[in-house]
Amino acid sequence: MALPESLRMSITPPELELISSQQLLEIVPLISMERTAFISGAYGPLRPPNKAIVPIWMAVNLKSKKKCHIVAPAWLNVDFLQDRLNYETSKPGFSDLPFRFMEISKVLLDVASDDLEDPDKLRSLLKDLREARQAKSRDGLKRLDHSELSLPNLSSMEINEIRPFFVQSMHMLTQLVREPSAA
């Protein structure tokens, strides 16, 4: 059919990665390139060793050909993530992280771990963050009712993860509440 079964309920993680890769990022190019018009806008000029701003997909593409170094975003470092992790483990709410931090950090750690400081520590911090937040979002299921559930600071990948179960549960609650008045 027009849309395969697996894509009907939700957007898939690779698609979220595709969306995230449109965000802009700083790189240090190793090749020069004139300012070029792309469909999403004009980028460049690349003039080593000056920094330039390009979309993540372009940075990843250049990086995998060893034509640039990636400058880590301001939030992708040990200090910042440790700070957020402390918040996650001491406070009940979700800490404030970029909406697509999971996708972006995954892409950058995959292709550009040599441009990041202490990638192993970053990986373990991100994993701890994920687990702490996951526990909280599961806990949020208790507060689910038929009308609304606020999820401040939840990131896109986490929403996608809880989507099938939360949507189904809330839908079921809606039906349970609606029946008496309809009959």
Binding site: I11, M33, G41, M58, W75, D145, E148, L149
Partner: protein, 257 residues
């Protein structure tokens, strides 16, 4: 020119030319020359925003937003015909440029990097366009009978999509009639009975299905099913039944994530 035609042209390698007048009518205010937001995208003072909302959305960002909305929305959203024509037009121009550069033997090594990047981007954009159209088609197939009986939904479709919906509903009806219905007693041979306590035979979009709504700007209060009101501030994310935020999604104040 409707989407399918546009798309066929694209599939054929973008070689076909449209008349100048038509191109001019649909052309963007030539955004090839437009500067993209440059300078640091996230100023140091406010390092984290959920998105990068400060600048005007580019056509591609708009398409991506409509695509994710469409994917997460139980109903069919208004068609973005003009936007899509713009983007397809842009892809075609880009692929012509690339083609010319590739054929030129004097193209330097540096140029190859540019060509490669341009091609990568075209594939990315094509994927989104394709997925967007397929998502709509899936919903149209699914709700075909409902679409043919409901004038309001039809206003949200393009001419090509309306045509497809009615043809599809027709074929399906004929098929069901030939396979089963013709051998049933006439009283039971309808496809649109509305018996009490049984869901309607015509599948309709279920607007009570919950969606994750993300406010792109401050929104006026919405009324929730339990009677309370919710005022969504910019950046707020909520799981709410779709019908409560329907108007906001159509107006672009809320996106579905």
């Amino acid at each position: 020119m409707d989407w399918d035609e546009e798309y066929d042209l694209l599939a054929a390698g973008g070689a076909a030319e449209r008349s100048f007048v038509e191109r001019a009518r649909n052309a963007l205010p030539d955004d090839d020359d437009l500067d993209m937001p440059h300078g640091p995208p996230r100023p140091a003072a406010v390092p984290f925003q959920l998105q990068q909302p400060a600048e005007e959305e580019t056509p591609l960002q708009q398409l991506m937003r409509h695509w994710t909305n469409e994917r997460n929305c139980p109903d069919i959203l208004p068609a973005q015909e003009e936007l899509l024509v713009n983007i397809l037009d842009h892809i075609r121009r880009q692929s012509q440029t690339v083609q010319l550069l590739r054929e030129d033997a004097s193209t330097s090594e540096d140029e190859h990097v540019r060509i490669m990047l341009a091609q990568t981007e075209m594939e990315r954009v094509k994927f989104i366009v394709r997925s967007y159209i397929r998502t709509r088609h899936y919903k149209i197939d699914r709700y075909a009978r409902f679409i043919t009986t409901n004038a309001e939904v039809q206003t949200r479709l393009t001419a090509g999509e309306r045509d497809h919906a009615s043809r599809y509903a027709n074929i399906l009806d004929r098929h069901l009639y030939k396979c089963v219905l013709q051998s049933l007693p006439p009283a039971q041979a309808h496809l649109d009975d509305t018996a009490a306590f049984v869901p309607s035979m015509i599948t309709q979009p279920d607007k009570t299905r919950p969606v994750f709504a993300h406010a792109r700007q401050d929104c006026p209060p919405i009324r929730l099913p339990d009677g309370t009101a919710l005022e969504m501030q910019k950046g707020h994310i909520s799981l709410v039944p779709y019908h409560t935020v329907e108007q906001f999604v159509v107006r672009g104040e809320v996106e579905l994530v």
